[in-house]
């Protein structure tokens, strides 16, 4: 038998891929062969160098974010090419509500513009309004105080009839005070958490849910928190969303969200929080289901964070 066979076995042995019976055979050979022992020492050193390279070439979050942004643009183009129109709701750069608002505003402007440019036809019947215009009497309250008027669009400039007709946006500051159990407060906080462009505002909204009175098991709030945990670009918001979810009764949806975070979140701190948040199922006696086992195996194998790798391995060993 040549030494080449044992050299092959050494390579597989050091990567942990040698069968038990082959390992025993290799050990017997190594006990008698100085050359193969030297080879093993060299390969062990090479393995150590691979670890150095592993640490040196890491995917950082900035690169991942950049790649996602570029992919998003490409997918939009792809969708337009294949369907002849926009198909992808912008999810990375334009938040959904902002996207809808922008689209609506553009439609309104174009529509009004076309309407204004359209020549008046003598004898034409007046248009039926879906939303009849309000009178100044009914507008007294909304126009009071610090209401800000923007986007005034004239429908009738009053040059012939003496009556002006227009639309506008009225933005009124509202001062609200209450607990997070209050449905009105919840509605505003949820809207801020999902739609506000300012990460500080989203963080404050998530913080309110996480640190206030424990939120009742409202499925809509829970779903919002899960969405924030899995998709908000700001780490602080995701962290607070996870904290809020931990205060809610543990169920399958929350479990799936924690698992997805453990599996995919770019931030190691959040992955640690996620694996700790899974304790209600990891610390239970008995089997864990396959979806949990798969994620733990993946993390045990490749997570860059020592704590996560060790904890995942420990749970898997315990559940064997």
């Amino acid at each position: 038998m040549t030494h080449k066979k044992y050299q092959r076995m050494l390579v597989l042995s050091l990567s942990g891929d040698l069968e038990k019976n082959e390992t025993a055979e290799l050990e017997r050979h190594l006990a008698t062969c100085a050359g193969c022992r030297r080879e093993r020492a060299a390969l062990e050193k090479l393995n150590g160098f691979s670890t150095v390279l592993h640490d040196a070439v890491q995917v950082d979050d900035a690169l991942l974010t950049e790649a996602r942004s570029e992919l998003h643009v490409l997918l939009q183009r792809e969708a337009r090419a294949s369907r002849g129109g926009g198909r992808f709701m912008p999810a990375l750069h334009i938040r959904p509500a902002w996207g809808y608002s922008l689209g609506f505003a553009l439609t309104l402007v174009v529509g009004v513009g076309i309407g204004l440019m359209r020549p008046f036809q003598p004898g034409e019947q007046p248009r039926t309004e879906t939303h009849p215009p309000v009178t100044t009497a009914s507008m007294t309250s909304p126009l009071a105080g610090r209401t800000r008027i923007t986007n005034v669009q004239f429908l009738d400039r009053g040059t012939t009839s003496g009556t002006v007709e227009f639309t506008f946006d009225a933005v009124t500051p509202v001062h609200m005070r209450g607990t997070v159990d209050d449905p009105g407060v919840q509605k505003v906080l949820v809207s801020a958490l999902l739609n506000d462009d300012n990460p500080g505002v989203r963080l404050s909204a998530a913080n309110a849910f996480a640190s206030g009175t424990p939120v009742k098991s409202d499925s809509a709030i829970k779903t919002v928190m899960i969405k924030a945990l899995l998709s908000d670009p700001n780490i602080g918001v995701r962290k607070q969303a996870l904290a809020a979810l931990r205060s809610m009764p543990f169920d399958d949806q929350i479990r799936a969200a924690f698992l997805a975070t453990l599996k995919s979140d770019a931030n190691p701190g959040l992955r640690i929080a996620a694996i700790n948040a899974l304790d209600p199922i990891l610390s239970q006696p008995g089997e864990i289901d396959q979806s949990v086992r798969d994620v733990l195996q993946q993390r045990a194998r490749s997570d860059r964070n020592d704590y996560i790798r060790l904890k995942a391995k420990a749970v898997l060993l315990e559940k064997q």
Binding site: Q7, S15, L230, A260
Partner: protein
């Protein structure tokens, strides 16, 4: 109150079905669950971050175009990684002339030692510099391997996939993967003989 789409807690297969029906939000959610591993494999395979991003985009465009044909006969991640491996291997074949330094190469340029000057990591105070130099040498040796050898070595030693998983990704027998791994290790050992 506005009801939020509950897809955020869906399993992969549910997301795939949604995406197959044209739900593009579901597709993006699916991408975000798996894209780190794709970028990681690409980053270890090619020379620069830009090339890794090229591969990442090509992979997910292929997935997007081919998702309707996905029949759930394998795990989505296996299918995705198979596409990733194929894109990497073909990318290298068509871009072989490009050779750009990696980031840590540029950083180490000023005070790089000659190949024979690698010192014992325990001997010097500047561990980072030593590790950087070792990484550069190992990286260079890795990049010198044949594409399939490099892919197997990288997936096993740097990404931590099992031989079985690598065989599924490369669509070949486990024995073939073992052979690639052995050949790759032997060549790496030859390239780095002054270090090992």
């Amino acid at each position: 109150m506005h009801i939020i789409d509950p897809r955020v807690a869906m399993e992969d297969n549910d997301l795939i079905r949604k995406a197959q029906e044209g739900d593009t939000d579901a597709f993006e959610e699916l991408v975000y669950r798996h894209d780190r591993s794709v970028l990681s494999i690409a980053s270890r395979y090619v020379l620069s971050a830009d090339e890794a991003k090229d591969i990442y985009q090509e992979v997910f465009l292929r997935v997007y175009r081919g998702l309707k044909g996905f029949r759930f006969r394998s795990e989505f991640s296996t299918w995705l990684h198979r596409i990733t491996v194929n894109v990497c291997l073909s990318y290298k074949a068509s871009h072989r002339s490009y050779s750009r330094p990696r980031k840590h190469d540029e950083e180490a340029d000023d005070d790089r030692q000659s190949d024979g000057d690698i010192v014992d990591p325990a001997a010097g105070p500047d561990m980072d510099a030593v590790r950087s130099e070792i990484a550069r040498r190992v990286d260079a040796a890795l990049l010198d391997l044949a594409p399939k050898h490099r892919m197997v070595f990288s997936l096993r030693h740097l990404e931590g996939y099992s031989l079985k998983e690598i065989a599924a990704m490369m669509d070949c027998a486990e024995g073939t993967v073992k052979r690639y791994l052995f050949d790759a290790t032997r060549k790496m050992r030859g390239q780095l003989k002054d270090l090992v």
